[in-house]
């Protein structure tokens, strides 16, 4: 169970790093800056990670 959870979390890290990479690559390819909407997506993903940490802390004895 623990190992499965750890792997899920690591996959989440990988997904986020890839999403940010793709976002930056797309902006560079289109020769434009990152838009506010794209930045909001990144902020939303970070907020979700924070919430998961808070939930984990609250579940700890």
């Amino acid at each position: 169970m623990n190992e499965t959870l750890l792997i899920e979390l690591m996959i989440e890290l990988l997904k986020q790093a890839n999403a940010a990479t793709l976002l930056l690559q797309k902006a560079k390819t289109e020769q434009r800056d990152v838009t506010d909407d794209e930045l909001d997506q990144v902020v939303g993903a970070a907020d979700a990670a924070r919430q998961r940490l808070v939930d984990r802390i609250n579940r700890m004895p």
Binding site: L9, L13, A46
Partner: protein, 136 residues
């Protein structure tokens, strides 16, 4: 099953390192690109902290201290973004300051992930409470 999980964890970790390397290679230059990298690093820090907490590499108190520190970084990043939107000159300093602090926290977590559980905590902001403090 354990071996399979361990192998999968190594593969995913290598994949993440590779994705991070790709992010670095893109060399974010504009303000918004640097903000993307900063918020993604913050995401990495919070997710790593969750992993380390779950695996017992950091304690609940460590995680709470880390959350407190990173919440301040988050506020600085939000302020930097807002200052930039308003074309205020403080934006650059605010972002640089937040990134520097964020890198320190990330380094701490990376070391903590590799270190044995009784290794000393490097960041003065993340010191564990002494037994006397705990008793209070």
């Amino acid at each position: 099953m354990r071996k399979v999980c361990g192998l999968a964890a190594i593969v995913v970790a290598l994949g993440f390192a590779s994705a991070c390397s790709m992010l670095d290679q893109l060399k974010p230059k504009s303000f918004n690109e640097r903000l993307v990298l900063a918020y993604t690093t913050l995401n990495y820090v919070w997710t790593s902290a969750e992993v380390l907490l779950k695996s017992g590499k950091i304690t609940k108190v460590d995680a709470q201290n880390l959350l407190e520190q990173t919440d301040k970084i988050r506020i600085d990043l939000d302020l930097a973004r807002e200052f930039n939107r308003l074309k205020r000159p403080e934006a650059e300093d605010k972002l640089s300051q937040a990134i520097t602090t964020l890198e320190a926290v990330k380094d701490y977590l990376d070391k903590r992930g590799k270190a044995p559980e009784d290794a000393p905590i490097l960041s003065p902001h993340l010191e564990r409470p002494t037994p006397e403090e705990k008793a209070k």
